[in-house]
Amino acid sequence: MEIGDLSDLLVWAAATTLALAMIAFAIDLGRRTDERLEARTETRAAIGAGVGAPEAGSASGGGSVPAESSAPPRRAAGIGMSTSWLGTILLGVAILLRGVAAGRTPWANMYEFTLVGSFVAMTVFLVWNLRRDVRFLGAFVTGLVTLFIVVGLNSFHVAATGVQPALQNYWLVIHVGVAIAATGIFTIAFVLSALQLLRDARDTGSPFLTRPGFRWLDRMPTPTSLESMSFRLNAVGFVMWTFTIIGGAIWAEDAWGRYWGWDPKEVWSFIIWVVYAAYLHARTTRGWSGRRAAWFVVVGYACVLFNFTGVNLIFNGKHSYSGIS
């Protein structure tokens, strides 16, 4: 078996493992919902008995104290975490083998970009979880990443090989590498902002989201807390994106004879930069922080996805390196 084929097999294995992780995390979200229901029932009982009569709202704030602090370990979430680690390691090895098979940095076409971007997103999630409990993100991150990898395998896959002269430059490692990392970080930030919007809508009584099926949203952190987490990631992502654009301009100056030429990819990178810049401004503009700012993250991430898929496949520009004919 060729090394390239082995890499592909490992990618499939990673996708399967991460799908399992997603299921485990989803079960965990469901379980937490049950627990919360119990808490609510207990509170009701307490109120009914006329004992202490705590505010009904205090239960939703995560302060239903004894039941939670002595809660049993969340076994499904634990399984989710360990399968996530396994899947991410498999993906990492697959990327390494891909690099060995092609004899170059393994991020020069869409398929490889998808793999490495997914790997970065998983790594951010896993490493962050070492510092604080962000397991609530697990189902969404593993779900998105599994989707990306499978789409990559089915639609973007090309055999491992060398690259054309314009790509033979150390900037391939830096410019594309940072762009991928930024994309991975934007992915997690998008999940956080989307959850913030959902939770916020449920809290303010959206008819659709107040249905029982969305009870798991109550167990998410507060919108304020989600917002601040999302911001921290977006700030890092934005700085990396700025660097991607500057690095790309330096490279384009050498490879194409101009640092900026409004190539479709450049246009969209510019749009992404402006949208995230608008997000950073919105956060500090009165009347625009919170929910409205979160929409910028959603729009910005949609642009990131389009910049990767649409611009590569639909528009004919200088960045057409998908290798798909």
Binding site: G162, E227, V239, F243, V267, H281, R286, G287, S289, G290
Partner: protein, 577 residues
């Protein structure tokens, strides 16, 4: 609004009090100013101007302009643009005559130089300058100011800790100040001011307190500095790009092996320059192409994909010296401040034509432009009428570096390197317009008024030539010869833009400023210490601007630095999930 802290209209990035802000809408007036309602009518024209200026430099308008900019940039990626691909624009106009004309009228084929796109970014720049300049002045003042006074009550701050120690208040204050200043005298972590307060009676909720020692400290002035640096660098970036546009020049030349060109406007095939360019600024060096090498993949996965292009050249400087250089893709050659790029390459076969009278009518290298990955290259030979009374001859054809003949008589190229070259030509005769003195595109032959040579069956005659072959032209027009060697040509792009260093510097400054403004924490810390009942009481409060997960650890570090402190009750007012 105090004069010292200039705030653009609508900004809300104050030091957070830690109270959970509503996620939907921030409370109006949270930044200490009333919401700006439109109040134009009674202002008069001067007030109107002021109001317009206030609006333009407000955060809300800046935000709108940013969103507009993103939307305005969009069409340039969807519609063909003249700067990038003029022929695609012509094609589009041909396919959509009505819509195309209107789109053209509104500049949709030159989006990034159009009036509306320029208007948006210029307004944005004006808004930015109007916002940043007063902020810079205010910040310059703030840089020399002392840290904010120690507040009377610490309870309202997001981090608030009390404790007791056996040491005296003086020692506590000294230790706190020393810790907060940090190790380096010149670059203190915090700007610190130690102070003292007199004893005070009880007032409102605040109980009576004896005389105290206080320490007020603030860090993170560089955060605002970074923010301002970022915005100012953006202005610098746009200005240097504009200046570069005015001063730059760019020329393209096709040269074949062993031939050269001189850096003069007339020697380029195409040449364009900015409004402030003067031809005297061209350094008159010359260059010859000694050899050109190319490599292509031979593996099955990426068969015939390019792998390497190298042009070996000799540069002749005006002072008479010359030196050998190499130009590769990604590695332009720097000559006298201008960069020379290898932008294309192909074959320029040597073709000679002898007319019916036996006179040499054409002898030269003809660049054939590659049209695909295997260098199926198209070219045109325009043969003048050297002997009187004869037609002009036009040859159109393909050069195939590695040719394979198919069963139906057609030929195709299968590999880009010249392993088995073949030249396929069709022959036209008539008036090519070569005598009219009108410049023509050397790569196109307008065959509308020409007669094509056909054989007895009415089929077009195609001539097949291998290197060294001489073939009779049909209809007794003469002979055509393909030279033994097939020289390569390279398309070189020479560009000079004196603003490059400035553009890069401003971009990097912007990156630096951005990083600082996003990641440098801005924090205020206060310490108050007094003696009550023979025990030294210590009170510490911390406040940060924006979200700051590091505020609590900062205060914790300060507490461990205070001698013999025992924490009373760690109070966290900040909301955590």
């Amino acid at each position: 609004m105090s004069e010292r802290t200039y705030r653009p209209e609508g900004i809300a990035d104050d030091f957070t009090t830690g109270a959970p802000t509503s996620t939907a809408d921030a409370v109006p007036g949270a930044a200490g100013q009333p919401p700006s309602a439109p109040r134009a009518p009674q202002l008069g024209w001067r007030g109107m101007l002021r109001w317009t200026w206030r609006q333009l430099t407000s955060m809300r308008v800046a935000l709108m302009l940013l969103m507009l900019l993103a939307v305005a940039a969009l069409p340039g990626s969807i519609l063909p643009q003249r700067d990038q691909d003029p022929s695609a624009v012509v094609e589009y106009l041909g396919e959509h005559p009505t819509a195309g004309e209107w789109l053209d009228r509104f500049g949709f084929f030159d989006v990034y130089t159009s009036v509306w796109f320029s208007a948006i970014y210029l307004l944005l720049l004006v808004s930015l300058v109007g916002c940043i300049v007063p902020r810079t002045i205010a910040h310059a003042r703030a840089l020399r100011a002392r840290p904010p006074r120690t507040p009377v009550r610490f309870e309202r701050f997001p981090v608030h800790v009390t404790g007791t120690t056996a040491e005296s208040p003086d020692e506590v204050a000294a230790a706190a100040a020393a810790h907060l200043r940090g190790r380096w005298r010149r670059m203190p972590t915090f700007r610190v001011e130690a102070g003292a307060e007199d004893a005070r009676p009880a007032r409102g909720k605040v109980p009576a307190r004896p005389a105290t020692r206080t320490v007020a400290a603030e860090r993170g002035y560089l955060r605002e500095t970074g923010n301002l640096l970022f915005h100012l660098a953006l202005v610098g970036l746009v200005i240097s790009v504009a200046v570069g546009q005015l001063l730059h020049y760019r020329g393209q030349a096709i040269i074949t092996e062993d031939r050269g060109f001189a850096n003069a406007v007339v020697d380029y095939d195409t040449f364009e320059s900015g409004a402030w360019f003067s031809p005297e600024s061209l350094v008159p060096f010359a260059m010859t192409l000694d050899a050109f090498e190319s490599e292509f993949a031979t593996d099955t996965v990426a068969f015939a994909q390019s792998r390497d292009f190298t042009a070996e050249v000799t540069v002749h400087e005006p002072d008479g010296s010359s030196r050998a250089e190499t130009i590769k893709v990604n590695h332009p050659l720097d000559v006298d401040g201008a960069k020379i790029y290898l932008q294309g390459n192909g074959y320029a076969p040597e073709i000679s034509v002898t007319d019916a009278e036996g006179a040499t009518a054409f002898d030269g290298r003809v660049p054939f432009l590659p049209e695909d990955q295997v260098y199926t290259s198209r070219g045109v030979v325009k043969v003048p009428d050297v002997s009187p009374g004869l037609d002009q001859i036009g040859l159109i054809g393909y050069f195939l570096p590695t040719a394979v003949l198919n069963d139906d008589g057609t030929a195709e190229s299968v590999f880009p390197l010249p392993e088995d070259p073949l030249l396929v030509l069709e022959v036209y005769r008539g008036d090519l317009g070569l005598d009219e003195g009108v410049p023509q595109n050397v790569y196109r032959l307008d065959t509308a008024n020409l007669t094509a040579s056909v054989d007895d069956d009415g089929e077009r005659v195609t001539l097949l030539l291998e290197p060294g072959d001489t073939v009779e032209l049909p209809d007794g027009l003469g002979t055509v010869t393909l030279g033994e060697d097939v020289p390569r040509f390279v398309a070189l792009d020479l560009r000079h833009d004196p603003s490059l260093a400035w553009v890069l510097s401003f971009a990097l400054l912007a990156l630096l400023g951005l990083t600082g403004s996003l990641f440098l924490p801005r924090r205020r810390v206060w310490v108050r210490s007094w003696t009550s009942d023979g025990v030294t009481q210590v009170e510490v409060a911390g406040l940060a601007r924006g979200d700051d997960a590091g505020l609590e650890p900062e205060v914790d570090r300060l507490l461990t630095a205070l001698p013999g402190l025992e924490r009373a009750r760690p109070t966290r007012t900040s909301e955590e999930d």
